[in-house]
């Protein structure tokens, strides 16, 4: 059977540490165990995804119950210390837990934010009498702090995004449509090893690569919880690049999400062929200033919401609050964690007290939207160290790039 290169597999020590750290969190929260099945969480704990239930007891060895392809799991995951068994029927889960000398949980963690209601109702019947408790908040808190391995993987994604962005100036041409240009760029991305799929946690959070928008389209919002969403090709998927032809003297916003070996980097630049309108130019300078202020001040222990406040204050100083982070439907954050999913913790939103910590990887995206005219902004992905934020991409962000 074909196989991945050894270096593509997440090391066993890494996976075991993730499981043990999660067990400690469960003990603190008095959970007896957690039954995990969402694909990003499975990738986090197992290093790969298969259709499986991972039962992690608060203490002792996890049990891995696979619905479909047990062989692929054995070749693609280094998690070989734990029992890996075939799950024929959903109802066998409890028997499998018992057979591996683990107590049947009375307080069971489930990913209540993502598992469907119908599945929840089956668990409820199966674990009759047990308290079913959301454990996604624990997993998401743990996943917010990246290991050295995860940071190294994310740096590979950042390198890929640099390569993609370096190709942009030569392919952005007036007279091309947004979606045509998007196809050109996505081809480069795929050649660089982009996985295509971008995982976004939650219901209906449908996402495809990101935004490549020009002029008024770069001021459009839609269903997605971000400042700028684009018009899209048609009403059935009202998101991302549309049919508009890119012209001179207008902002061309390029907000693309990179994903390689699972790990995400989010980056935005604003281009202009010729001069951008003054309003766009000025707002871009404020976005840069916001990034500088945040870079100068962000440190571990600072509440995540403080970065939003810093950004908002700068916008206020320049009289731009009406356009800050979207208009007329602004979002209340200036950034977000990224990792195996696009929308990880921390959320850099107003009022969020979660302290920043070393190891967090965050996209910070000060943006301004002028309805009918265009959107403009800057986004970089940073890793928090003990001494502050470090930028992961090296593509320049000093100014609007004039082609």
């Amino acid at each position: 059977m074909p196989n991945y290169k050894e270096t593509y597999l997440t090391p066993k020590t890494e996976l075991i540490k993730r499981i043990k750290d999660f067990q400690s969190m469960m003990q603190t929260e008095d959970l007896d165990g957690a039954l995990i099945s969402q694909s990003a969480d499975i990738v986090y704990f197992c290093g790969t995804y298969q259709d499986l239930h991972l039962y992690i007891p608060a203490a002792g060895k996890p049990v891995i119950m696979i619905r479909r392809n047990i062989d692929r799991f054995r070749t693609d995951s280094k998690l070989d210390d734990y029992p890996v068994i075939k799950l024929r029927k959903f109802s066998e889960i409890i028997r499998n837990i018992k057979e591996h000398d683990l107590p049947v949980p009375k307080r069971l963690g489930l990913e209540l934010d993502v598992i469907p209601a119908s599945v929840y109702l089956k668990y409820k019947q199966l674990f009759a009498g047990a308290d079913l408790i959301d454990c996604s908040s624990l997993i998401r808190r743990q996943r917010a702090i990246k290991s050295d391995y995860e940071i190294a993987r994310t740096k590979e994604t950042a390198k890929m995004m640099d390569n993609i962005f370096n190709a942009l100036p030569s392919i952005i041409k007036p007279g091309k449509s947004e979606f045509e240009l998007a196809g050109d760029i996505e081809k480069i991305a795929r050649r660089e090893g982009h996985q295509g799929l971008i995982k976004t946690r939650g219901f209906n959070a449908e996402f495809y690569f990101g935004q490549l928008l020009s002029g008024p389209n770069s001021a459009m919002s839609s269903y997605f919880d971000g400042p700028i969403n684009g018009i899209g090709l048609y009403p059935e998927f009202p998101f991302g690049p549309g049919e508009k032809i890119i012209e001179r003297e207008e902002p061309v916003l390029f907000d693309y999400v990179g994903a390689k070996h699972g790990y995400i980097v989010d980056i935005t630049r604003t281009f202009a062929i010729g001069e951008a309108p003054d309003m766009i130019d000025n707002a871009y300078k404020v976005a840069e200033e916001i990034q500088q202020v945040i870079l100068a001040k962000a440190l571990p222990c600072m509440p995540a919401g403080h970065l939003y406040d810093l950004a908002f204050e700068q916008a206020q100083k320049h009289g731009l609050t009406d356009y800050f982070m979207g208009a007329p439907y602004p979002v209340s954050f200036v950034g977000h964690g990224v990792g195996l999913e696009l929308n990880e913790l921390p959320v850099l939103a107003k009022g969020v007290n979660t302290p920043l910590e070393a190891g967090m990887i965050m996209a910070i995206e000060p943006k301004f939207v002028f309805p009918g005219i265009g959107g403009v902004g800057l986004e970089n992905t940073f890793v928090m160290s003990n001494t502050g934020l470090k930028k992961l991409c090296s593509f320049p962000d000093q100014t609007i790039i004039r082609l």
Copy 2:
């Protein structure tokens, strides 16, 4: 604000008919109303997606409650006879129902197969005492029968897939990797107006374009409920094309999903540069024969499972049952409905008694998998008419295409 062309909007009569038909089904099932929020179902009833709750009472006017972008809904949906209001808080849903002179439902339909458990628990509190009943099976049954409008849209997607497949023979070259070639093809697809995103109903049903696989990789299965899934680029997304270099004298399986204006067409062809191994060649002929037998016999009123039986009998006749529809993890179906989602009804699976009906659009995909050697097959998307199945794509399928 930028806008779509008028012809891109789903006609009002179409949308109103969909809602009225669903109301009739709810009356038969004794539901008082349904609260709908999943993106594909919203696109079906509204012609576009926004973050909203659509309350459809069993009788009377629906209420559309929008969380975010009410302006986009007004421009992108023709549903302007019904109240469209801003939903500030989840808890306002009941008040909004009452304010529009509708009774608070005692038997409420919810999309239990897709809404997250945490959202279900909020509904349970909000509609205290009401029976919360899965209405996805009703919606999916209704959506299985396509209107003339939907068939016309799907034909546009089929035309797009013909254009993409016509480009293939000139770009499939030995020495190229699967993922590189995938990038080339996806660029063509995007230029043809492919929306990128492929909606697949259900938890963890992550999908990206499809399969472009060669030799042993075309025999790989993974987490996805399909006969052939590919190796993928790395364990974190073990699906689709991988790093393998395409060689001469091996099968190159190309199973891609087209999506345009929301509507999906699924098509598979097997190529070979030079001669394919005999085993592959022979199995391909059986796949063709299966398609012919199904085409000759399929008629409205026939149980969906009968098409699987017909396919299986042919496989049996040629001694190929061990390889039929995947090995060693075969799926139990030979086809599936397609529409706004890839995995619609009917499922052409063993034992399914659902009668086939005129208006159903189905992908039929007889495939054979020889582990370690390769996979081979043929897939077309058909619409059922009163006189039988009609193929939607015109790209030839007579034989393995030799380049």
